[in-house]
Subunit: 376 residues, 4 copies
C-alpha cells in the first residue's frame, strides 16, 4: 500500500512501472510506507528499492527515480548506485531549529537512525547530512526533502539560509509551497540565479562542513549552533556559507587553509588571493517580484527589462566559464592569501559567497582534485 | 513455549489458531517468550508475528490480535499492518517514575532498544512512545501495557495522570487490578466518560508531545520532568494534557501556536478563541463510587440517579457531536486567540482539557488535516 | 578452529559431539573464536549454538553445555532455551574496578555490545548483568566467567565481594586459581557454606539490583559506585548485598519496601519484622584453612572437628528448611517493619545478609511469587 | 565497480583473481565501494570478502590480500581468518587531531560504527583500534591506513608519533607520500631501524593501551588527551609509548605493574629492574638523510659509512637476539623494580622506549605468555 493506503507496489514493481511508462511518467517518488518489515539491514532495503529501479529501467522509458526511505539503513552508502535522488531524513517541516519528538533521532548525526519520522527542522536535516555530504553524486543526489520557502513558518532570513544550503548540498530543489499564494519574498529567493548556479555547478560536488561551534546562545528550544560549509566548484571556484543558527548575531571566521581543506598536506589555494562574490547581493527586489506575481503572463518582459539570467539560453556551465555577472553575484572584496575570512552574521541567517582566484586568468581552469578516490 | 513454559505456538500457528477459533476466542495476546532467537531485525520479527496474523485470518473468526514483542525491532514501523494492538515497551509496574535496572533501555527514547524487560514505570513508557506516537492507527493501536490504576503503588494523582495519558495515546484500556478489591477512587478514575471519550474519539489520532522540560526538580530516583501533550479530536476539538512528573509544583504553559503545531506555516487555530473544558472536574465522587462497589447489582440505578453517560445508548461520536456535557467535562474558561495556555500543576499529577472553538457553531465540523501523508 | 587454533567444531558439531560422548565427557565449554562471521543478529548466533545443543542431545549422554559467546547478540534473550550456562561478558581479569580498553563496551549496561573482549573487571561484569539478571533460570544460568578468588590481584575484601555476587547471581562457581598454591584466605572464601547456600537455593532466582549510586568517591581509574542487590530465596527468605565499589567507606541503606520491590502495589513483607543473618560472620579462620591446605588428606577430620556443613550428607534444601545454623550465618539483629536496613560498608567490599521473617513459624513456607510471567 | 567507477569484482571474484594471478600480481587491496548494499551484518560482509579470499587461494599464486571495508561490521572479529591485513577505519588524512564531519563516528571507540568515511585523523584511528588492538595477528594485521609521513600537514613531532604507533600496533607500513619530493626529516622517520624492529618483532603482538587521560588541555578543535601504550616483545622485552595529544607539555607516568598488566594476579616483571632504551635517540641526522636523497645511487655507501642496519643481511629476530645496538636505540637509564616510569612529553608528540630486563643474561629468553587463549 502507499502511504495514503492505496494499493501500491511492493512485489508488483514490474507491472506498476510498465503502467507508469505507458502513461508517460517522468518522475517517480517511491516511498517507505507499508514495507512489511523489509528494512533493518542495508541489504534488505537495497533489494526492495533495487527491484523498482530494475523495473523502471526495463520499461525503456527514462524516469527520475526518487528513492525515499527516510535515510534508514545507511541510505548514503548504497542508494547512489540505484537511484537519481535519495531522501536521507524524516519529513521536513516549516521550522528552522525547533526539535520535535516525532523526528526521533536525538543525535542528528547518527547514521544508524531508525524511525526518523517527521517534523524535522532545516537544521536537523543539515546536521544529519553532514557526515556523508560527500556521498551525493552527479545523477544520484541526496534529497533533503522539499523546500518550505514561502510557507510562512520561518522568517525571510531563515528561508534564505534554507535555500542556500539546499543549493550547496545539491539537493533537488522542489518547491513545496502553494504557487497560487506565492509571495514576492519567496519568489526572489527561489529564482536567485547566482545561488541556483551553485546547485547546478558542473563539478557537481556537495559542500562539506568545515566548522561547527555549539558554544553559542541557545534559542527557546535549547538549540543554537554556528556552522561553516565549503565546497569545490567548477573552474577552481569555491562556495562558502556562513550559517548562524545561534540565538545571537555572531562574528564567524575561517582561514583559507580551512576553506580549502585537503586529504594530504597544506592547501596550495591558501597561498593565493581570492575575489569574494556575495551571492545574495543581487537578489531580485520585492517590487519586481511582486510585478511578476501580479502579471505572470508578462514575466519574460519584466525579467528581460532587468537583465535576468535565462539558463535555457545560456547554460550554467557556459555562464560560469564566461564569468557572467548574474551568476557570480556581487564582488565585495579581496581576500588576501593566508588570511581569515571573517563575517558578522545575523541570528538565524546565512551568508553565501563564491570565491574566485584573483589571478584566475593566468591559471588552468580545473585544479587537480585532491580526492584519492570516490567512495560509493 | 509460552512465557509460563507451556507448549506454545511458534511454527504451530495454524493449528493453534484453529483450536482457538473452535473455542470461540475473541482476544489473542501473542507474547515474545521462547522465540528461538527469531528477532534482531524487523523482518525476522515481522514474519514471526505475521504468521499468526495469517493463521487467525484464515480461521474466519474475528479475534482481536494483541501483538506483544515489547517494542523490539521497531515494532512501531511495521506492526500496524498486521495487528490490532502492539506492545511497545517492556512490562509496566506500579510506579510513576522509578527507574529499574530490569527495564533496561536507559534512554527511553531509543527506538533500537533490545531487551526492554520489565519494571517499566508510567513515565518510562510514555517517553518511549513519544517519538512514534503518530504511528498508532485506527484498528492497530500502540499498547502501553495494562493499567495499574487501583493496585496501590501510586498516589491517586499519579493514577489520574496514568489514565489520562493512556486515553490520549489511544492505548487499549485494560484494567490490571483485582476487581474484587476495587476502591472507590480507582473506580472513579476508570469510569470517567469525559476521558474515555478521548480514548474513543472518532478521529482516532494519538496526542503528540509538544513540550518537554527536564530542568525541573528531581525526585528520590533522580527523575523529574514536565511534558505537554496535544492531540487533534473529532470536529476540530483539541485535547491538551499538562503532565508534571517533577518533584515540585510547576506553572506550565504552551502557546496556541504550539498546541496546534503544523507541518507547514502558522496554525490558523491560534487566531481563534477557545473554550477550555476540564475533563477531570466532574469525576464521580467517592461516595457514589463506593455505593456502586458496595451494591454492584444496583449500579444501573445508582448511575441513572446521577445522569451518568451510557455509551451503549449514545455512542461517543454522537455524544461529542451533540456536545453532551458528560463528555465535555466542565467548561472553566475562555482561552483568547494568540495567548498562552497556563496552568499550575501539582507535583506528580496531570491536568487534561478539551479545547473547543468559541465560535464552533459557525464552522464546518472537520478542519482539514494538515498531514501530508500517513506513514506506516 | 578453537581459540587456540586447533581444528574445531563449526559445521562438524555432530561428529565432535559423538567423539566427546564416546570419551565420557561431562562438561562442554563451546567458545566463540573463529566463527566465520556467523554473528551480528540473535538468530545467526542462536543457530550456531543450537547446532551443538542438538548434537549433544543426540548423543544421549548428559553433558553440561556451557555456551560462551561473550554476551553478543543479546544472549540473555535466547540462550536459556538451548544451554546450561551462557557467558554474558568478555573475559574476566583479576581487578575489581579497573576499566580496560580491551573490554570495549564503555557503557557496561548496553545489551547490544559487540566485541566485548577481555580484561573485564568484576564491577564491569556485574553492571553488564544487571539489566537482565532476571533472565538466569534453573538449568540455564548466566555465566559471569570463572572466579578470580585467590589469584592475587585483588584484596581479600574484594574477593569476598566478588564471590558474594557470583553466588547471589547464580553464576557457575568455577575456581579459576591454581589449587597447588591455594592460600588460606582464598579457601575460606570459596568454602563458605552460608554463601554457597545462596548459590544453590532451591528457588533458583537471581538477585536483582534495587539501588545504584554513582555519586560517590572515584578511585584512581575514575570508577566508583555503590549498589544494593536483593533476591528472593526459598521459603520466603531474602538475600541482601551491600556492594561498596566506591573509593571511600559508605553508609548504605534500603527500605524494606525497596528490598521487597514488587510489580504491583506495596510489598506486604515490609509490614513484617525480619531477622538479619550475616553470611560472612562465620567464615572459616585462617588457622583452620591453613591446616586443611597443609594436610589435605586430613580435611574431613579437620572439618568435622569444627562442625562444618557437608551438603552431600544434608542437601541445601533440607538444611535451609531445618534452619541449619551453618547455612544461615550469624543472626545479628532484628529489622523492624517499615524501617530502613542501614549498614556502614568499607571501601571496596561487600556485606551479605539473609533476612528471615521474625514470625516465620506462623507462616506458610513459600510466599506466592509476584511475577506475572517468566520471560524467556 | 571499483571506487573509481571502473568495472570491478563483486560476483566476478574468480575470473578477476585468475587474471591478476596471470599478471603476476603480489598485492591486492580489495575495497568497499559499490557493494550493492551487501553489508550491515558481519556475516554478509564476511561472505563478500571471503569470496575473494577463496578466489585468490584457488589461483595458487601467493598474493597479500589487503581487505578494506573501513572497519564496518566488526571487521576485527572475523577478518583475521580470511585476510592478510584489514582496514579498520575510514580513510586517514594528514592531521594529527582534527575531527572532521566526514569521519562520522563521533565516538571513535564505537565498534558498531557505520559509514566511517574519510578525513580520519591519526588520533581518531588510534582510538578506534584501542578496544581491539589485541585482534591483530601474525599474517593478518590491522591496517590503520597508509602513512602520511612526509606529506606536510603535520609537524615533525606529530609524524614521529604517527610512525611510532603504526609500528607498535603492527599496521602495514605503506609510505603514502610522493617519493620524488621526500624530505630529509621524512626519510629519517621512515627508516629508523629501532622502530621498524618493533613493527617486525618476532612475537608479533600489538601494543595495547594501558592508560588514557582526557583531562588535559584541548586544542583549537576541542581535542586533547594523553595515552600510554605497552606491548610485549620477543625475548621478554617490552615497548612503551608515551603519546601526548594534549595542547600542552605533560609529565606522564606508568608503574611497572601497569606496564606489565596481566589477566591474573600481579605482574612478576614489576619486581625486576629494567634498562630503558630510547628508540628515537639514534634517528638519522638531517644531513645524512639529505645526502641520501640527493644521491640515491650512493645510499648503500652512505649508510655503510654510518653503520646502518641492513635487515636483509641480519634479520630482525637475529639482531634482537644479539642485542644489536642499532635496533635497541640508546640506553638512557635504569628503571628500578616497583617504581614509576616518568617522562616529560612535549605537546603533540610521542616518546617510544624498549625495556629490557637488567638481569637478562640470567633469564630464559621468553617469559611465558599470560594469555589464557587467543580470541579470533
Amino acid at each position: 500500500m502507499t502511504c495514503a493506503r492505496d494499493e501500491g507496489s511492493l512485489d508488483h514493481e514490474t507491472e506498476d512501472a510498465q503502467v507508469w511508462a505507458s502513461w508517460g511518467v517522468d518522475y517517480l517518488k517511491y516511498d517507505n510506507c507499508f514495507n512489511q518489515g523489509r528494512f533493518g539491514t542495508p541489504l534488505i532495503t537495497f533489494q526492495r528499492f533495487e527491484a523498482m529501479w530494475k523495473a523502471i529501467n526495463a520499461t525503456g522509458r527514462p524516469m527520475l527515480y526518487s528513492l525515499c526511505n527516510w535515510g534508514e539503513d545507511s541510505t548514503h552508502a548504497w542508494a547512489n548506485g540505484i537511484s537519481n535522488s535519495w531522501r536521507m531524513s524524516g519529513d521536513i517541516y516549516d521550522y528552522f531549529t525547533r526539535p520535535d519528538d516525532l523526528c526521533s533521532c536525538e543525535n542528528a548525526q547518527d547514521p544508524m537512525c531508525i524511525a526518523p519520522g517527521k517534523h524535522c527542522s532545516v537544521l536537523n536535516i543539515i546536521n544529519k547530512l553532514a557526515p556523508y555530504a560527500d556521498r551525493t553524486k552527479p545523477g544520484s543526489w541526496a534529497d533533503l526533502d522539499m523546500l518550505e520557502v514561502g510557507n510562512g513558518g520561518m522568517t525571510d532570513d531563515e528561508y534564505v539560509a534554507h535555500f542556500s544550503l539546499w543549493a550547496a548540498l545539491n539537493s533537488p530543489l522542489l518547491m513545496g509551497n502553494d504557487l497560487r499564494t506565492l509571495t514576492a519574498s519567496a519568489l526572489s529567493i527561489l529564482n536567485n540565479p547566482a545561488v541556483i548556479a551553485i546547485s547546478q555547478d558542473p563539478l557537481a560536488k556537495s559542500a562539506i562542513r568545515i566548522k561547527r561551534d555549539v558554544n553559542v546562545k541557545k534559542d527557546e528550544y535549547g538549540v543554537g549552533e554556528a556552522q561553516i560549509w565549503s565546497g569545490k566548484l567548477f573552474g577552481g571556484d569555491q562556495v562558502v556559507i556562513f550559517l548562524n543558527a545561534a540565538d545571537e548575531d555572531l562574528e564567524m571566521k575561517a582561514s583559507l587553509e580551512e576553506i580549502f581543506i585537503r586529504e594530504t598536506g597544506k592547501a596550495p589555494q591558501a597561498q593565493e588571493d581570492w575575489e569574494v562574490h556575495d551571492l545574495w547581493a543581487n537578489r531580485m527586489s520585492d517590487a519586481v517580484a511582486q510585478k511578476i506575481i501580479d502579471s505572470p503572463e508578462q514575466y519574460a518582459t519584466i525579467l528581460s527589462g532587468i537583465d535576468w539570467y535565462n539558463s535555457t539560453v545560456i547554460p550554467y556551465k557556459e555562464g560560469i566559464e564566461k564569468g557572467d555577472k548574474r551568476l557570480l553575484g556581487k564582488r565585495i572584496e579581496t581576500l588576501k592569501a593566508r588570511t581569515m575570512f571573517v563575517k558578522t552574521v545575523k541570528r538565524h541567517s546565512a551568508q553565501m559567497y563564491r570565491l574566485r582566484s584573483s589571478d584566475r586568468g593566468a591559471k588552468k581552469e580545473n585544479l587537480p582534485s585532491d580526492d584519492n578516490h570516490d567512495e560509493l
